[in-house]
Subunit: 409 residues, 2 copies
């Protein structure tokens, strides 16, 4: 791995103080899966009764741990549960060996913690196509279990990093029926970095008491507007995993439709999603693309992603160029409904184009001034209907090429 | 525009000797639409009876000239016809002004050449969102018409360039029923370059005698496997146009299903398509992605484009890295059917992965040696069916960022 990459210029000032979540314990350790001299395995123990929801990559080449998690989501929550994550090896595209490695690791965790193997969820992230040296992980499980503690979330957030330039965490406490409820999450991800098949892994915990099916619905709905609304380079990992665990220890029951809780959950998920973008490979600008006036929300999302994924839009942002023609191009190619002569575009607060042509009041100097900032907002109104969507991305720079065109060593 | 960009390292050694095509005359002139000191308008006069077929961008924000051409394709071929093309201004996203400019130019060409305006096809390529200064073009039409000649195709190919680093031409002569038939084309395009909304424009001419509906079918079928099978950066222009004109002067009648003629047409189209890729912004490698074993040809095409458009695959190629994990990722994200455990991958002749795992005989040194070449071939077999497709692309380099992140000046 050599040098540690420089911290992203868009990184938050510091890792937040996440405190503890009742019913959740963390441990991490250096198992030498691939990296040397750093923790690379995280173990999480969840109290009996914990409900667990999950959303996963839709890749048709998804990894063995993802397939295993998907099979386990929705099972009984009577006993305790656990999450085991390694960095350095993605256990992806490893054939039958991959399934066997996942079996070995989750089975050993079940034994050490005396819980059902069906309640042990695992993730692997790192290089693909190489067999996971699972004994290096299972050899450390007793030591990991001995180190479990409620205070250990920060080193755990570091243990799951691959080539992230900073650890990612977020927490919100809300009052529900007069009682505090906490939602805390950690994440890793910064695009898909050589030499690793890096990916986005997210683990969120709450002490709220939520039925698994309600929790699953809340996670899926919020995922659509957070983790599914970010893009660094349009490439999709084989390992993307978001797990949401509700221990119920607070005793505060959350039913479907609880806007306070789901709002707080969305805030934590959006915060983590933005941190992943802010750690985008080579990123120097954080970009919000907001599309309104589409025929449907789905159409708005397609347009927003087309803009956010366009190499020409992303390089223009890197060059601080208010090149609205490329935005028009990206709308045109998206495949979703648009009428050229109804499109309006803003960069920040600067009105660039109105109803299909450059605004008579357009000031390129004002637009260029907005582009010089660190946070760029591109707003598009299609003038067709009420569909809307927002996505977040970063610019495309020499840094991205440097990171990804280096020979895998 | 400043300095002329350096000729692409992947450019052909020279512009081919295209000779003449019976019934086709060319002229070009410096009209100062935007560029100074170079020809920027091309006029083509086509003999009475010429059948004209066309395929166009599917962008929903396509330009006024594209909409005008689409309305005219399929009309009578009794009188003469003409094609007028300017570089420097795309006449796109220009509202009603764009339609009026196209009307003005095609109407003036009709007057000067004494042909029907419905038989005058136009293209514009260059910066978007600025009104086309159409009087600069119409003022030069008499001089252009006076300069028409069968020998002028080479300067015409130069006049339509924007930031292309070389002019593009191809020609094939085949014998049909003992008579020679000629197919010759010119093209421009090298991605979508700042400051221009550059595009792909292609004009192909033949002296064969072909009904317009047959010609249209042949063009559409061959377009699917040539110009629709190339990608530089996944971005789609608002102006893409391919026009195929058959003058009939050779007297050799071509019916539907003439494999000799359609094969020759495909060869010319593929040659021009490859030249566009070879002029891709910042390109240092010419890449063929061949997918076999898909459930359908359409599925194979989706997988091949997903690989060819992946920034991670393209940067790996730039770095001469046989990073097959990224190919697996791109297959997984494409949305078309794939079974992880049936996928096989080759780089050149080197077998990398077989049925979902790295080949036991895989030699990274051999794969790396292939990646050092100028022509890269990535072959994927999905093991599912007989669907197949091939696409061509280039690598993603610092040169692309340099070209596209420069401030528009």
């Amino acid at each position: 791995m050599g040098d540690t990459p420089a911290r992203s210029p868009l990184a938050p000032a510091c890792f937040p103080d996440l405190g503890t979540i009742d019913g959740v314990e963390f441990a991490s350790i250096a198992a030498g899966v691939k990296y040397a001299g750093r923790d690379d395995v995280m173990l999480v123990r969840l109290a009996p009764g914990t409900a667990i929801a999950g959303v996963f990559t839709r890749s048709s080449t998804r990894s063995a741990p993802v397939l295993d998690c998907q099979a386990k989501i929705g099972g009984t929550s009577d006993g305790g549960a656990a999450i085991i994550v390694n960095s350095g090896n993605a256990n992806a595209f490893t054939g039958r060996n991959g399934t066997e490695a996942t079996e070995a690791v989750t089975g050993a965790v079940a034994d050490v913690l005396a819980i059902a193997q069906s309640r042990v969820f695992s993730s692997s992230t790192g290089v693909i196509g190489e067999p996971l040296p699972h004994a290096r992980i299972t050899d450390k499980l007793s030591a990991l279990a001995a180190g479990l503690g409620g205070d250990n979330i920060k080193p755990a957030a570091h243990a799951i990093m691959t080539t992230d330039t900073f650890a990612k965490g977020a927490t919100v406490t809300v009052e529900i029926d007069g009682n505090p409820v906490k939602i805390t999450g950690i994440a890793k991800g910064s695009g898909m970095i050589a030499p690793d098949m890096a990916t986005m892994l997210v683990y969120i915990f709450t002490d709220a008491l939520v039925d698994q099916t309600v929790l699953q619905d809340m996670l899926a709905a919020n995922n659509a507007v957070t983790f599914n609304a970010i893009t660094v380079d349009s490439d999709t990992s084989t390992s993307d995993t978001v797990l949401l665990s509700a221990t119920g220890i607070s005793g505060v029951r959350i039913d479907a439709g609880n806007a306070t809780f789901t709002g707080a959950l969305q805030a934590v998920m959006r915060d983590l999603a933005h941190q992943v973008v802010r750690d985008g490979e080579g990123a120097t600008k954080f970009v919000e693309v907001a599309v309104t006036g589409a025929t449907t929300d789905r159409g708005a999302h397609i347009h927003a992603l087309s803009i956010a994924n366009s190499p020409l839009v992303k390089t223009a942002i890197a060059g601080e160029d208010p090149n609205w023609g490329r935005v028009v191009m990206a709308i045109g190619k998206s495949g979703a409904p648009a009428d050229r002569d109804l499109i309006s575009i803003r960069f920040g607060d600067v009105v660039v184009a109105v109803k299909g042509w450059v605004s008579p009041d357009y000031s390129e100097a004002a637009a260029a001034a907005h582009m010089k900032g660190e946070n760029i907002v591109i707003s598009v109104d299609l003038g067709l209907g009420t569909g809307h969507a927002t996505v977040w991305t970063c610019d495309l720079t020499h840094g991205y090429i440097e990171i990804n065109a280096d020979y895998r060593s």
